[in-house]
Symmetry: C2
Subunit: 401 residues, 2 copies
């Protein structure tokens, strides 16, 4: 559940679909590699093993989204397990109880029936596993923190789960340029803590940061709260290391900020959700840690006023604006009812959350004060509260799940 809707998030996949169809009609297979892996990674085996969809007290039933039949991939044999155990001593999980949490998504809405979970620690191990699976025609499901809410991180049937959870080393940090290079399995919050000590922050922040992994963030092109300020991962990710379906390692792990040499192949993997390869390492540009953060919670009457507030905000808060999100009264009711989160201001049809981050708290406060005065006197907003303390800021953001 995402109680807030970021301005401009309403999106359509239609154009991409059209584009893909056009490329496909052209008879050229530029996405051949992608599709091959897509087919390998997401194919059903049989109805008996089909993905389950939980429907509350009634138990579970087959997901209507599941494909009708499994393509002829091999099944994991005793010999396969022996090979995996040789590559990953002590890191091949076959115990169904231990596998359950990896087969099931965070909302427990869907679950697969994988019988093997592999936990590589190095790129070389990922390469060996994929190379072997490719030669044996075994389907593979890459998995990060398994925090997604759309069922994309768990197997459909019996795919081998390739977890990046044990790939959690930070490889380097350039303190001058602010560029972090780390393995894909680093948990976002651990990176945040690592950077905090060095006076930097991650360019993205998510509600799931305590469990989600940077590799998964990149694979799903996660946006998060700071997109408005620091932009998408297409801009902040400087390099990727990826293992392709047949085990080849694609080294695009650049740490160069202004790289305009040739095709930017790594971009294809940002948002590809594991269908083109397994991301094993990431280099990412990190902003300096802001010295001052403020959060404002406002109420307004109409969507038109909300848009005008956004424009005013962009003009008056300018470079310190770091987030602008909104929710409606129905969202607020759900938050009250189900999460017992109280409305911090009086009832309004629409609510706005604005965050500022800057390097000088006096300057930021003054800009914020001027903006609020203008917004109130011009009757764009009807009520509001400001948070400057950490605990109050967290309380306001807690509504963003």
């Amino acid at each position: 559940m995402n109680a807030y809707v970021m301005l401009g998030v309403f999106q359509t996949t239609q154009k991409l679909r059209t584009a893909l169809r056009r490329l496909s009609r052209a008879g050229r297979p530029p996405l051949d590699l992608q599709m091959q892996f897509l087919r390998r990674g997401r194919c059903p085996r049989s109805v008996a093993l089909s993905r389950k969809l939980h429907v509350g007290a009634d138990g579970s039933r087959s997901s209507p989204a599941a494909a009708p039949q499994r393509l002829p991939f091999s099944r994991v044999s005793v010999e396969d397990l022996a090979v995996f155990r040789k590559i990953l001593p002590g890191r091949v999980i076959t115990d169904p109880d231990l596998l359950q949490s990896s087969n099931e998504d965070w909302l427990t809405s869907v679950r697969g029936s994988s019988e093997v979970l592999l936990r590589p620690q190095t790129t070389q191990e990922v390469s060996q596993i994929l190379s072997y699976c490719n030669s044996r025609n075994l389907a593979v499901n890459p998995q990060g923190g398994n925090t997604g809410l759309v069922g994309g991180s768990v197997p459909v049937y019996d795919e081998i789960i390739l977890s990046t959870s044990f790939m959690k080393n930070i490889l380097s940090f350039d303190n001058i340029a602010g560029i972090l290079t780390c393995q894909a399995g680093c948990v976002l919050e651990n990176l945040v803590l690592y950077l905090e000590e060095r006076d930097y922050i991650m360019p993205l922040d998510l509600g799931a940061k305590g469990s989600c992994q940077i590799g998964g963030n990149v694979a799903t092109n996660a946006g998060g709260l700071r997109l408005l300020r620091y932009g998408s991962l297409h801009g902040t990710v400087l390099g990727l290391e990826v293992v392709l379906a047949d085990g080849q390692v694609l080294d695009c792990l650049s740490t160069l900020r202004k790289d305009n040499t040739g095709y930017d192949l790594k971009q294809l993997f940002i948002g590809s959700e594991g269908t083109l390869g397994v991301i094993t390492a990431v280099s990412i540009l990190c902003p300096r840690k802001p010295k001052s953060i403020n959060v404002v919670f406002l109420g307004c009457e109409t969507f038109d006023q909300l848009l005008k507030t956004f424009q005013l905000c962009k003009g008056m808060l300018g470079e310190i604006l770091s987030a602008f999100e909104f929710l409606d009264s129905e969202c607020m009711r759900l938050l009250n009812t189900h999460l017992k989160l109280p409305n911090p201001i009086s009832d309004c049809p629409l609510y706005i959350v604005i965050e500022t981050s800057g390097s000088d708290s006096k300057h930021d406060s003054q800009k914020l004060h001027n903006f609020l005065e203008e917004a109130m006197t011009s009757l764009l907003v009807t009520d509001g509260t400001v948070a400057t303390e950490d605990s109050k800021i967290k309380a306001l953001w807690s509504m963003h799940i």
Copy 2:
């Protein structure tokens, strides 16, 4: 000549080459479309028509970079010209005098021998031309403002020059989100002027802005002065419309900021230099126009001090820092000698240019004052001058060619 070197610009293409080799070794052609167009667009015809390299007073000689022989592309016939004239009435140039400036690069270092220059106005016309050229096996050289300094924008031999200069319409501007959509041939400076009236700026700025075109900027992944603040075009370009080699129109002209649906195909065209298709339209995210701009010119003794100044600058100027570049004493000597530009401060081994852009001039001045005081008292810099007026700012930036 680029007198300044942006911090971190030292780059290598080795990794990309390795990656491409690896993909190629895999026997899979994910870049098939690209390569096909690459072969079409850049192939020599014969030694007699080979690209010339000017070598000053000695006249010209064959460029050592030219490929030894031309692949068997067709030559432009009278019938071809008739077809072009039907598609583009009055916009097919064959007069050698008029063609000269399009055959030659800005530095007059290299020149091709194209005999036809086409000037489409619409995407449909570009599509018809490429479709026809594809069917006739005619080589095509897309060209924007022809302001590049590396000879990449002119033909190698007799390729047809497809100019985007007549595609200069602004298609839309979203005043709330700051998203501009325009044809590829819009001159950067015209876009800057258009946006200025609407209180916005372009996210990139280049010395060549008076002639360079946005399509060419995207095709070459231009960085420019504002990269430090607003990031690369991979982050700011939201959508592209591209005509592929066979005339198909690929519509990825999204204006959605937070688009994480599927593969981001448009990214492949950013920096592809016309080898994958012809960019016909661009949508780009534009920042608000800053209310206050300051430029500082500083001198320092060692590279270590320069890096420390950069770190201090990131910490103290934070969100208002918009450019940080440097030049050495040899660059300064060349600027003095050849461009008669005086050194604005005393002689130093290294010089730094810092630009700030913000929404409150008082706040910006105060931040800048604090930073300069700290940099001077800690002996990181030895001399400096500050410019706040437009003319003085331009004078300082004039050294950046």
